[in-house]
Amino acid sequence: GYYKAAQPEKSAVVIRVKVCLKTQDHFYYCYLNIQVFDEQGKDVTPRPLYHPEPSASLHRQSKILSTQDFSGATGSDFLSSLSMHQTSGVNASLVGPFSRTYGSSSISKSTSTTESMADEIVEPGSRRDTAISLSDVQVRRDEIKEQLTKEDIDKRVDIYLTETETIWLLDMPTVMMSVESEDAEKVQERNKDYIELCKNRVGNDRFVERMMQTLNGAPKNKEVQCEKILMEDKGIMATSWDLYDSFNALETTLTSSVTERSSRPTSLSSSKSNVTKDQSITSSSIIDLESVILARIHEEEEDHSEAILKSEKFQQDLFFMERVLMENVFQPKLAAYRQLPVLIEEEEEEEEEEEEQKETVVSSSILLDLSEAPEEILPPSLERLWSYTCEWTNGHNVSSMAWNKLNPDLLAVGYGQFGFQEQKKGLACCWSLKNPMWPERIYQCDHGVTALDFSLANPNLLAVGMYSGTVAIYNVQTHNTTALLDSSESFDKHIGPVWQLKWIEQDRGTTGDDKGEILISISADGRITKWLIRKGLSCTDLMKLKRTASERKKLTGEKEKKSEALISRQAPGMCFDFHPRNTNIYLAGTEEGHIHKCSCSYNEQFLETYRAHKVGKIK
């Protein structure tokens, strides 16, 4: 049967949804009656009159969408509008069963529609079934679902997704007609009417524009606050030396720290120590060492300042500073010495010799060489540039001087008394040109210094001869003030004061040794000794100066005193000098006034003797 809208006696809400679907050129109308409620909420949905069997309904599941329904005499706007656009106006037929409308829809598709019609007609009964069975089907579907969930949860369900066919909601193809056909006039009229309608549309009361708006969700503002971002400005200057330093620092980090630590204690321990103050200084150096180590651990500024004051670099810096100060003060004199142009005035000197001798020392040995040239303008004179003096040297008698062979700015001066009675502790100082106010090195000796000489082969070695006969060798490179070597304990040391020391280069081709330098000394005990530096100072005598008999009148005081002869038969030697070319030959002068020519190869005999001076010391 057909569903007819029940004319409710009471008011009822009828919900009808009309859906027009077209699938494969078929128009389908269908109603989906959901439910009908009356005022009290009772379900007054009209129940179907026919209940089909469940098996048959299953078959029709696929055709749910294609269920058809008939409209009753409800001419909806939709239908009417649809009909208006149909070229072949078959208005009357719309009211009737809807299957008939198909026949008039399109000419070209008449065959298909007839088929569909046939389909429709074939299934009148089934239509009912499908329509009726909607609710039933729906119910059954639930049942089926339940069964599945219970049994086959673990079963693998394959879901196939396919693209659905295009669902056309509205399709109105244009239909064309020839002008010459019968209905052409009608169609043209209708077209005109339509155009006029379109024109009249604007501002016409019959047409109402309507707008729809989608619902927007209510916006919500949300604020978030983060912690304050702290900004800091940092600037750094990249210099090329900075890059160089950091590059080098990578290579020498570990090694430098190790060596620094090891060198620091050594530098502290090698501080100057006088004979009397030896122990106190070593103990203080240990304390210094500890404090330096503490400074490193604690890294406090106070300790650092101490470390600075103790550091070698500081010492060196002070050294430079002092030198610079001296330069400031003594610049004119030094410049004059070097014959450089002086800043303030220019002083010209006439003779070079005089300039060499212009340094003077406090006491006795002032070298004056006044030549008396008969010039009217200015007699050549010596000008005293500066004097090497300091508190240490006050009161000391200068006994000997020697220039360093390598560094002509270095002068070694020995202080010692000549007389026996006046003996006191001696001093050997190394003075530099660059600092006339303080000697570079001060070596304190037990006895007065009587002779000095710098070595030629090793310019850092300074040989010092003393009044006691001791020969000591100092190394002036280090700040160490103790002698490198001392002959005070050797067996063959001199007994009398050493009057002259000299470093001589000697060929020793015969013995097989290399050409070396040896130290030769002559002393008042009458021996000329050759000192060798092998393990310590050892000496061999080159010559013993014997008293020679004089051919002339003998002075009574010299030889015939038996006491003297018993004491020594040797004449005190005062000085000597080697032959400049033949280092085997040397001349020695004695207290007697004789000059002996000797040879190194002969130990016993003189080669020759020259008698010149009667008595006296020769230098």
Binding site: W241, S271, L309, E322
Partner: protein, 85 residues
């Protein structure tokens, strides 16, 4: 240590020397013979200048280093011996 003290004393006692200041790496004076305000002023200014001078020398040749700095003015002369760093 004793030698350092000696040398320092000698320099200070030298004729023509007005004062001496010994300064550490940060430019803070550790020894001085001048009054406090002058010391602080000199130390601060000279430290900066020495840094700049050293930077200049090393920028030209990174293997080089500043050894001595002398500033001669109308009235005095300032001599700076820069240490390490």
């Amino acid at each position: 240590m004793a030698e350092v003290e000696e040398t320092l004393k000698r320099i200070q006692a030298h004729k023509g020397v007005i004062g001496t200041i010994v300064v550490n790496a940060e430019g803070i004076p550790i020894r001085t013979t001048l009054d406090n305000s002058t010391t602080v002023q000199y130390a601060g200014l000279l430290h900066q200048l020495t840094m700049k001078a050293r930077s200049t020398v090393r920028d030209i040749d990174p293997q080089n280093d500043l050894t001595f700095l002398r500033i001669r003015s109308k009235k005095h002369e300032i001599m700076v011996a820069p240490g390490n760093l």
